[in-house]
Amino acid sequence: MKKYITWLTESEYVVIALFGIVLLISRLLKLSFSTGISQNFWTFFVEMITFLPFMFILIGLIDVWFPREKVEKHIGHEAGIKGTVWVILLAMLQAGPLYGAFPVAHLLWKKGSSIRNIFIYIGAFATMKVPMLTFEIGFLGLKFSLLRTLFTLPVFVLIAVLLEAYLKDKEFEVRQGS
């Protein structure tokens, strides 16, 4: 018993367990809030648990079939529109939070990417990662996701163009971070 308690308090499931216990007790005491909250929770939970495994399996398959290394080879060598397309493709195959993109931006800078392409990478990384889009389509629908991506793409390209124009004659560099 003690072993289970220490495991639980150290695990990420502690809040979930507490939630279950509180709901159970309040149900036994016939407190009205328990039904409302647990009804909400179950509806959301059932909906998610049926679709999430499929989404993650798809993300896993994309990960093994589209290796980033193949795209990375093209970065830095291609200039202009072609370079931009490769940078967006590379960003789309990534995963994780935005701050994970900054070290890559430094690498791109060292490889000779233009200021514009570096900020396009940041924008595409933030808004067009394939695993994330998979989720967006699953939960918010294809129409919403397509529209949002379609509007976001020109916005971050424009931001990159503006930043490049602003930084052109200044001494700008993407530093190594820490």
Partner: protein, 156 residues
Amino acid sequence: MLLLVSITLIALVVSLMKDRGKTVSGVRKGIKMFTNILPAMLNILILVSIFLYLVPGPVLAHWLGKESGLTGMTMAALLGSVSLIPGFIAFPMAAILLKSGIGYNIIAIFVTTLLMVGVLTLPLEAKYFGMRVAVLRNVLSFIGAILIGLLIGLIL
């Protein structure tokens, strides 16, 4: 949702026919990601369940519905800018809020600021680009996000 399930199944069959080993490692990777994200997701579900119980639909719709106008959009933009929620959790949350009567424009602004603007990660970003450029990028993204939300609100 159905679309995604069918795509997954088709991808799974094609992948199995082409390379069994690769398929197995891909599925393993996916399941591992799923179990990693599950506790965080359940925690958010609990929070949203309680929140939606305490704040009834009509009240929420009044503050963040399609007709909530500038106040709603500003609230969504500020919230999205300071939050550090990963997409894996933000999208299910947004779907629930959408069903509770929040407008598409609000959801679009919240999602876009969440993805593009990071107030909390600004010091980190500044280490790479310098503070002036980092702030500039975030401000431009903030304006862009509101524009995107307005456009989506016009269509959906």
